[in-house]
Each structure stands twice: as C-alpha cells, then as structure tokens.
C-alpha cells in the first residue's frame, strides 16, 4: 500500500510530478501539503460538482466530503493523475448527495440566481458580453436543474468534463447504452426547456 509513488508514475508532466510530491508528503502526515492540493483543485472540483448538484452549499459539502475521503484514503492512491483520482471521488460524492436528496426531498434545487456570478479572471472585458455570458450561464444552470440527476451527471461528465462513454459507464455503474440514452434524452430535454431562450445561445 505504502509503495513509492515515484516508481509508478511518469515524471515528465510537471503538474503530475508536483501533485505526486504533495501526495507523498500528505501521506507522511503533512497537512499543509494536502491543503496545497485542496487549494489547487477546489475550484475546478466545485465547478464540476455544482453542475451535478445545482445547490451551492450542497455542492460545497459534497466536495468537502470528497476531500475528507481522499485524505482518509491517501494510502489507496496508486499513482497516475491526482486530478483524475480526485475527480472520481468528487463524482461519487456528488452522486451520493443526489441520492440523499431523492430520499429526503426537502425542496427543489433553488434557482442559481446570484449576483456574485463572475467570469474567470481575464475571460471577458466587455460588460455587454459579460452580461450575456452570465445570463446564458444562469439559463443553462436553471435548465440543468430541471432534468433528471442521471441525465445531468452524464451530460456534465461527457460534454463538460470530456469523459468518454465507457469511462462514464464505469464511474456511474451503468451500461454504455444507458449512458448514451441518458445523454441523448438529457440534451433533448435541455433544448426543450431552453426553447424560448435559444436566442441567448445562437450567434
């Protein structure tokens, strides 16, 4: 279990090399090293999970749980991409949250209306474009919140995260055909929901 990660990895990629060094230090009990990893990946992981669980607080809780799980299971990391490893743990945590919501349906996902939506630094400078982009993002988030959890997960993993059908099937524990069906039905549902707002997306 406590094998030397350097022997199992490709050290050519500086990002992977950095991540593996941090993982090794974290395994040795260095909390700062683990927190460096958290700082590096918390934004991208939150962005992934908040698309699957369209509730900011629940999404943050799911990512937090994923980091807890990663910390508890540092010894089971067997090399390779730390980002992929964390992504998978986060996807599982997000699916657990979705299941918990199904068991205890308290309220539908709140609309993600929030003035604090901001572009990434350097993304946009034109205020009009920023406004359109923000409006488009809100419309998409609201539409995503209205399709089923399974469809949303499959679409986010395929269209946003770039996983292929087989990887999504393995991550979600369903067949390849089911993954394709969920993605196709989800896409058609999104279009149905956004029919009146399609002018936002054209051009």
């Amino acid at each position: 279990m406590e094998e030397d990660l350097r022997s199992t990895t490709v050290p050519d990629d500086p990002v992977q090399r950095r991540d593996l060094i941090l993982i090794e230090r974290a395994r040795d009990g260095d909390l700062d090293a683990f927190n460096d990893l958290v700082a590096l990946y918390q934004d991208s992981l939150f962005a992934l999970v908040v698309r699957m669980v369209p509730d900011r607080d629940q999404a943050a809780d799911a990512v937090q749980e994923a980091f807890f799980s990663a910390y508890r299971n540092l010894s089971s990391f067997r090399g390779g991409s730390v980002k992929s490893w964390l992504n998978r743990i986060c996807v599982n945590a997000a699916m657990d949250t979705q299941r918990a919501r199904k068991r205890r349906p308290v309220q539908p996902y709140p609309e993600l209306e929030d003035e604090s939506w901001q572009p990434r630094a350097g993304d946009e400078v034109d205020p009009e474009r920023i406004a359109v982009h923000a409006e488009r993002s809100r419309a998409l988030a609201a539409a995503l919140a209205h399709i089923t959890d399974d469809q949303r997960t499959a679409i986010v993993l395929y269209d946003v995260e770039g996983y292929d059908y087989a990887e999504i099937a393995e991550m979600t524990g369903v067949s390849l055909g089911t993954v394709k069906s969920r993605i196709h039905r989800g896409r058609l549902s999104l279009r149905e929901i956004l029919t009146d707002r399609m002018e936002l997306f054209r051009g």
Binding site: R56, A60, R136, D159, Y165, M198
Partner: protein, 185 residues
C-alpha cells in the same frame, strides 16, 4: 425518403447522437426542423463547456480539527492493515486453518483404519494389555495406572475440523471486508 416524411417521425435521438461523434442523419440537411434542432443542440453543448459556475461559497481546506475527526478508529485501522501489503500473516493463516479443517474433515470421513477406524478405539492396546495382567508392570507404558493413550474421538476431531474451517473462512471474510472498507468511493 426523409424529405417526404413529417418531422415528428424523424429520429431525434440520432441527431443528439451526432454530437458525440455519431453520423449526422440526412434529415439534418433535408428537414428544416431537424436542422434547427441540430444547430440548437450544438449551441447548448458549446455553451455548457464555457458556462460560468457560481463562486465556491467557502474554503474547503482541512483544519487540524477535521484531521483529528477523520483519524480512523482502532477497528478501522486494524481492518486497514488486514489484507494490505503490510499484512503478511492473515492470508497464510487463513490457508493453514482452512487446510487443517479440510484435512480433519477428510480424516473423520475416511472409513479406513488410519481415519475414523483408528479414532473409534478409545483405549490403546497398551492400556488393554495392562488391564489383562493386573499387578504386572507394563514394559512399555511403565505405569498401568497412568491415563491410557488415546486418539481423539471422532466427535472431537469433527468439532476441531469444523472450528478450523470456520476460523479460516472467517479470516478470508475479514480480508474481504477490509479490502472493501479500504476502497475509496
């Protein structure tokens, strides 16, 4: 052909599939509604990739208190060691117990003299000889009053075998549970 069939009968799933590298159906070119659907799906897919997400509500770095809470309990630590690379004991131990159990069961089941036949003789022939000649010290046992040499009764052997088999099985079950507990979800 496609241009003569109404849009409602066109395969919308095939159009959705085309976004994932599938063949673009001919209806996309021949049917305006299918063409519009294809364009809309492509626009949505592209927008999804570039959509902003709301800001993260809090910092997710772990605190010392979190780490203290995450420290596994003793039983979890023991489970963590079982079946891991550090554990060089449980597997051979499980195999040994299981082998002993199977061996014992075979021995009790065997109708030959080496098995149950031998075990059914509760008193050894030395003890019998000593009984037949009272007062005569046995040249082999030395003391006729000494407890007779016996082999385990079949019930005892059966019990020990089943116990050994159960222990071996329990060790393997424990290893399986440990490996599942260690898996990261």
């Amino acid at each position: 052909m496609a241009e003569h069939t109404p849009h409602a009968r066109h395969d919308r799933f095939a159009i959705a599939d085309a976004l994932g590298g599938g063949v673009v159906p001919s209806t996309v070119r021949t049917c305006p509604a299918c063409g519009a659907l294809h364009v809309d799906l492509l626009s949505i897919q592209s927008a999804l990739r570039h959509a902003w997400t709301p800001p993260r509500p809090r910092d997710l770095r772990l605190t010392i208190a979190d780490v203290a809470r995450l420290k596994p309990a003793l039983w979890r630590r023991v489970l963590g060691i079982i079946g891991s690379a550090q554990d060089a004991i449980t597997r051979p131990l499980g195999i040994a117990f299981t082998s002993l159990g199977i061996g014992g069961l075979l021995l009790t089941a065997l109708p030959l003299g080496i098995g149950a036949g031998m075990a059914t003789t509760p008193v050894s022939e030395y003890a019998i000889r000593a009984e037949q000649t009272p007062g005569m010290p046995s040249d082999t046992t030395g003391d006729a009053t000494a407890p007779p040499l016996t082999t385990p009764s079949p019930d005892l052997l059966l019990l020990a075998s089943v116990g050994s088999l159960g222990t071996g099985g329990a060790i393997f079950v424990l290893r399986r549970v440990a490996s599942r507990t260690r898996g990261v979800r």
